[in-house]
């Protein structure tokens, strides 16, 4: 297992590039989905308040 972790001595670079990629992809997904949810909630609120006039 430790051999896997050290990645032939380049462990730091391999794992940090994976960490950066995971962070970037995670950030994009989270940011996009949260914007989507916020928009849906805003529209739903408007439509609800519209119907129960």
């Amino acid at each position: 297992m430790s051999e896997f972790l050290s990645q032939g001595g380049y462990g730091f670079y391999v794992w940090s590039s994976f960490a950066v990629s995971a962070a970037a992809v995670g950030f994009m997904i989270a940011f996009t989905l949260c914007a989507w949810r916020k928009a849906k909630r805003a529209l739903a609120a408007l439509q609800d308040s519209e119907t129960n006039f």
Binding site: Y13, V14, S17, T32, W36, K40, A42
Partner: protein, 239 residues
């Protein structure tokens, strides 16, 4: 159902709702497969295990370039036959493209450090990606600065098209520039000769990033459509 029929938002929302889960699932599967294969593959005799960073660097860089191309095409469609949805698509793609470019730069630098001993090397490919990042930042800044929605969309469209026309020239001039300063750069076009065994993980990761980009792009377009509908509702109720 021609692509122009997609232009009306209601139709687009229905169609994208159907495709979105499939694209997202496909992206997850391809990325997982690419990662597993990437680690299963033996280290490269020359670069050792750092070749695994290439599986992250090249796909991110490819997706960044593809995103700019799609942005320019969507802008051209939006400019020529005034489809509001094309403008929305172009502006939705820009931040994603910028993140992929930045990701490409960081992983490129992490890949270069063990080989060249420096965090940043003025190598042709990395430099043109740095300029691509500035093109993206300029596009996003211009979009944010103009308040009027369709004027901002058309201004960004012109910038994206001018950028797309210039991108090959920038790429060529940067390559020309590297031969002037360094002689033959270590990282040849597309990286050192890639052994076929590495091609599979590389291809899978590139496909995975591309699918991920499309999934996120669709969600961002849908978000903007919903936002605009909400805005029209509030405005309609305000007067």
């Amino acid at each position: 159902m021609s692509i122009f029929e997609l232009a009306n938002p209601k139709r687009f929302m229905q169609v994208s709702a159907v495709f979105l889960p499939w694209i997202a699932a496909a992206a997850a599967v391809t990325l997982a497969a690419g990662l597993v294969l990437g680690f299963a593959v033996p280290p490269d005799y020359q670069q050792g295990t750092t070749v695994r960073i290439m599986f992250l660097h090249v796909p991110a860089a490819w997706t960044a370039m593809m995103a700019y191309g799609l942005m320019a095409v969507a802008s051209a469609i939006g400019l020529i036959n005034r489809h509001p949805l094309a403008d929305v698509a172009a502006k939705a793609a820009a931040p994603l493209g910028a993140v992929f470019t930045a990701l490409g730069l960081v992983t490129g630098s992490l890949w270069g450090k063990p080989m060249w001993g420096a965090w940043w090397v003025w190598d042709g490919r990395l430099t043109s990606f740095l300029l691509l990042l500035f093109l993206y930042l300029g596009y996003i800044a211009l979009g944010g600065a103009i308040e009027d929605e369709n004027r901002s969309a058309r201004a960004c469209a012109i910038l994206a098209i001018v950028g797309a026309v210039n991108l090959p020239i920038i790429e060529f001039s940067v390559d020309w520039w590297t031969t002037l300063h360094q002689g033959e750069s270590i990282l040849r076009k597309g990286g050192p000769l890639i052994a076929p065994v590495f091609l599979w993980p590389l291809f899978l990761m590139a496909l995975g990033y591309t699918l991920l980009f499309f999934a996120l792009w669709l969600v961002r377009i849908r978000t903007e459509i919903v936002n605009r509908r909400a805005r029209t509702l509030t405005m309609a109720r305000a007067t």
